[in-house]
């Protein structure tokens, strides 16, 4: 899952981006509203975490501009402004959630997860594809009753494939959801991770199908 964090506090930006990456998210960061607005329009994010009192362009303007330009990415406002009027205004402008600083990091993660679920049209935190189970709450993958030991990035790849089970997900799309905007990762890293996942799936390796020239899909088993 790929997130955009627009936050002017350098310390909070560092800490949040580090924690979220450790949670398996790809996190792009912006220190001001102008940069954040540009990144949000240039890339596909699952969730945008937006501060309101930003230099250059404030958070209200960023949110309004995004919605006016048709960007429908889920936005979670993260602000020290705690008045009801501020929350109403933020949600009225098109934000999907509002969290007041100071906040609990696990709560932020849970809210991001909830938004991700909404973005893929599911309500349950547990995704099931044949004998594969992805528990997004516990961030755990099980196959045939056996827990797979995955890296955060492998988990994210598996979660995305599970959310889009039955659909072909392009290599580019996978990469965009797993790596930051300025990532210098090798171009074949997706293939490497798919190989690693199949190996860890063992007997269930055929769950992940390759569509040559198109991408990968998690086979739901209902293909003709």
């Amino acid at each position: 899952m790929r997130l955009l964090l627009i936050e002017d506090s350098a310390r909070l930006r560092r800490s949040l981006s580090h924690g979220l990456r450790r949670e398996g998210y790809a996190v792009d960061v912006a220190a001001d509203g102008r940069e954040g607005l540009w990144l949000a329009q240039e890339n596909a994010y699952d969730v945008i975490i937006l501060d309101l009192m930003l230099p250059e362009v404030d958070g209200w303007t960023v949110l309004r501009t995004l919605r006016e330009k048709g960007v429908s990415t889920y936005v979670l406002i993260l602000s020290a402004k705690d008045m009801v009027d501020d929350r109403v205004r933020g949600l009225g402008l098109g934000a999907d959630d509002y969290l007041v600083k100071p906040f609990s990091f696990p709560e932020l993660c849970a809210r991001i997860q909830a938004l991700v679920r909404r973005s893929y049209g599911t309500k349950s935190p547990v995704l099931r594809v044949r004998d594969l189970t992805v528990d997004t709450g516990a961030r755990r993958v099980m196959h045939a009753g056996r827990t797979l030991e995955l890296t955060p990035r492998e988990y994210s790849l598996m979660e995305l494939l599970a959310r889009r089970a039955g659909d072909v997900v392009s290599r580019k799309e996978l990469w965009e959801h797993l790596y930051e905007f300025d990532s210098t990762t090798e171009s074949n890293v997706i293939e490497v991770m798919i190989y690693s996942l199949r190996r860890k799936l063992g007997a269930g390796a055929d769950l992940i199908k390759t569509r040559r020239g198109q991408g990968y899909l998690l086979d739901r088993g209902d293909d003709a």
Binding site: D8, S9, R11, L12, S15, D32, P55, A80, K81, P102
Partner: protein, 502 residues
């Protein structure tokens, strides 16, 4: 008496009652005197008539035309007369006396009548008129007609005493009735006045009541409202004007208080959020020692930022409470400028910002060095924070013509407008509301203003025609400046005549 209504009523009723009483008494007295005068005039007229009828001839004296007297003394039971010769022999008396005698005062001066109050023989209150006169000669009228010579002088015939008395019952009854009538009228008028005064006072004080009702309706939530000065009576206009001014100041104070509290909460929320997130993330992955070390460094920085906010607020509170005292000492301005710039040199160097000192040669001042240092450091830090990279900060200090000294810090500040100047010294005010720079909570210039007040320095922010932002400090005290260093003071450093890169 604390009630304005009661006080007005008491004064008006008391005054009106006093005037009414005095008027009634005066009227009663004047009427009484007039009645008495008329009563006496009638009594005297009767007496004079009797005197005219009293005649003498050849030593004999008698009362002529005694048969006409009943007409004169028609009211016989109330009127009396008696005539005595000089030897006290009674020559005539009214029939109403019977054989009794009238009271008389004694020997009266000749032709000098006297009035007196004395009981009548029947015991009733009476009014007496006593006249001592010489009866006229019987021939008088004939002699006058015939042009005969005048009769012998009066002294040749002994004078007689005539006393006429009349009951004063009617007069006293009339006077008493008059008193009662006046008292009744006065009391009625006083009662009417009481009602009128009450109504008048109520009508007159109605605007005060309305003002009081209006003021009772004010609370912390309605401080934006004002009293209507246009419909206020002239006497209350200064009060309403003053109250409106007070409300304006109160509203301003409440607004500042709310803004201050909100800003303070916000300023503390951000570092608190940082502390919480940093610690929670570090605790979640304790095995990541590099990230944990970085988090600890950030936690320390956030703590220092909070400490700085709290210390600045404490300084402001101490300034507000008069707990900071100025401890003047003499020092060279160039030394203070150089020392203070060193404290922001690291930040300035990072942005390649240089100081251009323009200090008058040998300028030394007497003021609190520590407080002036705090002022300069804050001004320099502000200039460095908001000046574009590679720019210059000018610091000029001169002795002013009026004997004081002037110190100005000037730097480019893009985006600052004249409308921002009145807010520069507001607590937590920043041009950019975002808290991007954790080192600046918007308290620096507030502290500068507070210390300037303490040191009696006038502070003037302005935008120069060249678009530079300048804060000018002016010390009006002539004693605070000297062109030469005092004995024992460290020699002032030479002015920075060359640009110093920091």
């Amino acid at each position: 008496m604390r009630s304005l209504r009661g006080r007005l009523t008491a004064w008006l009723l008391g005054g009106a009652g006093l005037l009414l009483t005095l008027g009634a008494l005066t009227l009663a007295r004047l009427t009484e005197l007039n009645l008495q005068r008329e009563f006496d005039a009638a009594l005297e007229a009767q007496a004079r008539s009797l005197a005219t009828l009293t005649e003498q001839e050849h030593g004999r004296i008698w009362l002529e035309a005694a048969d006409t007297l009943p007409e004169l003394f028609a009211n016989r039971d109330r009127e009396y007369y008696q005539i005595w010769l000089a030897d006290a022999h009674v020559i005539a008396r009214s029939s109403s006396l019977g054989n009794g005698n009238l009271w008389r005062q004694g020997v009266a001066p000749l032709d000098r009548p006297r009035f007196a109050d004395h009981p009548l023989p029947d015991g009733r209150a009476g009014r007496y008129f006593e006249l001592r006169f010489v009866p006229r000669y019987e021939e008088d009228e004939q002699d006058e007609r015939l042009g005969r010579p005048a009769p012998p002088p009066a002294g040749a015939v002994p004078p007689v005493t005539l006393v006429v008395a009349r009951s004063r019952e009617n007069l006293d009854h009339l006077t008493e009735s008059l008193h009662l009538t006046l008292a009744a009228v006065s009391l009625s008028l006083l009662g009417g006045l009481a009602v009128l005064v009450r109504l008048s006072v109520a009508a007159g004080l109605a605007p005060v009541d309305r003002l009081a009702d209006r003021l009772r309706g004010f609370d912390a939530g309605s401080l934006d409202q004002r009293l209507d000065a246009a419909s206020t009576p002239a006497e209350l206009a200064p009060v309403v004007e003053h109250l409106n001014g007070l409300l304006a100041r109160l509203e301003d104070s409440f607004t500042r208080e709310r803004t201050f509290s909100s800003n303070l909460a916000h300023e503390l929320r951000t570092p608190l959020a940082e502390l919480r997130t940093l610690s929670e993330v570090a605790l979640r992955w304790p095995e990541d020692t590099a990230a944990t070390a970085e988090a600890l460094a950030d936690i320390r920085a956030a703590g220092l930022q909070m400490e700085s906010i709290v210390l600045n607020l404490l300084d402001l509170a101490r300034c507000d409470g008069g707990l900071h005292a100025a401890r003047p000492q003499r020092f060279a301005v160039a030394d203070a400028v150089e020392d203070c710039w060193q404290k922001v040199e690291e930040e300035a160097a990072a942005k390649e910002i240089s100081l251009v000192p323009e200090i008058a040669p040998g300028l030394a001042v007497t003021t609190d060095r520590e407080k002036l240092d705090r002022i300069l450091v804050n001004l320099f830090a502000n200039a460095v924070a908001y000046s574009p990279a590679g720019s210059e900060v000018h610091c000029a200090a001169t002795a002013s013509p009026d004997g004081g000294f002037a110190l100005a810090v000037r730097n480019p500040a893009d985006g600052l407008t004249p409308g921002d100047l009145p807010h520069l010294f507001d607590r937590f005010w920043r041009k950019d509301t975002a808290r991007a720079n954790g080192h600046h909570a918007g308290l620096g210039l507030s502290l500068v203003a507070a210390f300037c007040r303490l040191l009696d320095l006038r502070i003037e922010p302005r935008l120069t025609p060249e678009g530079l932002f300048e804060i000018r400090l002016q010390a009006p005290d002539a004693a605070a400046v000297s062109g030469a260093s005092p004995p024992g003071a460290p020699p002032p450093r030479s002015p920075g005549d060359s640009r110093r890169s920091c």
